[in-house]
């Protein structure tokens, strides 16, 4: 009898430990990083004018290459943190880096690249944010890694950090290029 009572007293403790473990895991999880359902799906196609040019840009122009689509805007504060990393990336690697100037006035976008430097191979202008919606953009900056077949393989939510570039993006790009 006594033994079974002891067993019952242990249960709340076990439940408590389980709950703490569960919540501990929850704390590590950033609710602002919503996993994209577009991973391993074809990148939505679009045709948009290029910033400051009369030509247009479409993702299917880059079929056969691994490339990055970086969603940014001149009004985006954390894009400023990301910008030097993008510049360095463009200098060191020949991977096409396409900018999507998201919900921005073209003159502001142009001012940005004139003042801070232009890391982009091409910049598409998404004035009304419609293309952004198709890509599931909900916070700028966001970066998509798109493979040779035009499939989205990775989405970086928030600015690309040195760490993310070195440990996640570059190895993935190298792997996809083979």
């Amino acid at each position: 009898m006594k033994k079974s009572i002891n067993f019952w007293y242990v249960i709340p403790l076990l439940v408590f430990i389980g709950l703490v473990a569960f919540m501990g895991l929850g704390l590590r999880h950033d609710p602002h990083e919503v996993p994209s359902p577009l991973i391993n799906k074809s990148a939505p196609d679009f045709t948009l004018p290029q910033l400051g040019k009369s030509e247009t840009f479409s993702p299917h122009d880059l079929l056969g290459q691994v490339w990055l689509l970086n969603v940014w805007a001149s009004w985006c504060v954390s894009c400023r943190d990301e910008h030097p990393i993008l510049l360095k990336f463009a200098r060191d690697y020949s991977v096409p880096l396409i900018g999507l100037d998201y919900k921005d006035r073209p003159q502001d976008g142009e001012g940005w690249v004139t003042n801070y430097g232009n890391p982009y191979t091409k910049i598409a202008v998404d004035l009304d944010g419609r293309v952004g919606i198709n890509y599931g953009v909900y916070g700028v900056p966001e970066t998509y890694v798109i493979d040779k077949k035009g499939v989205i393989r990775y989405k970086q939510i928030g600015p690309i950090t040195e760490d993310a570039l070195k440990n996640t993006l570059l190895p993935l790009i190298k792997e996809l290029q083979q």
């Binding site: 609710p31 602002h32 919503v34 996993p35 994209s36 359902p37 577009l38 919900k103 009304d128 944010g129 419609r130 919606i133 198709n134 890509y135 599931g136 909900y138 916070g139």
Partner: protein, 150 residues
């Protein structure tokens, strides 16, 4: 005169603030009703504790416009929800679908309830059987009668 001026300015300012809050909705009341009905079950991804219907975030406005357009294109509610889920994932839905990843969420509470009822029944049974099985010993009986006599 100066106070009157200030008051008037304050009045105008408050009017403009009000005008900003009450966004012009009723273009087509039926569309708007469906829009509200759909978007109140969707999460705004920018401010995640607000519904798409209630949020004032830019993205929420854009998404409401998009839903409005889809309604005007004659899409069904399911098609519109699917459209959003394709882009933003099930996270956008306040009512996630019942599938393998959400079984624990949907049925977990009932399971816990059943476990609770089970524990309750076993505890009550045990208590009942204990009180029946443990009559007072002769010594205790005597002690009790003595106490009662006092």
């Amino acid at each position: 005169m100066k106070t009157l001026g200030t008051l008037l300015i304050a009045l105008f300012m408050s009017v403009s603030v009000l005008a900003k809050e009450a966004t012009p909705v009723a273009r087509d009341p039926v569309t708007e009703a469906r829009l509200i009905d759909l978007s109140k079950d969707m999460r705004c991804l920018v401010c995640q504790n607000e519904s798409l219907a209630a949020s004032d975030a830019d993205l929420a406005k854009d998404l409401r416009d998009q839903i409005r357009q889809l309604i005007n294109q004659g899409k069904t509610d399911k098609e519109i929800t699917d459209y959003m889920v394709q882009r933003y994932g099930n996270f956008i839905r306040y009512k996630p679908p019942v599938d393998a990843t959400t079984y624990a969420l949907w049925f977990g509470p009932f399971l816990l309830l059943l476990v609770g009822i089970g524990v309750l029944i076993s505890v009550v049974r045990k208590r009942n059987s204990q009180s029946e099985e443990a009559p007072l010993s002769a010594q205790q009986q005597q002690h009790a009668t003595e106490l009662l006599r006092e």
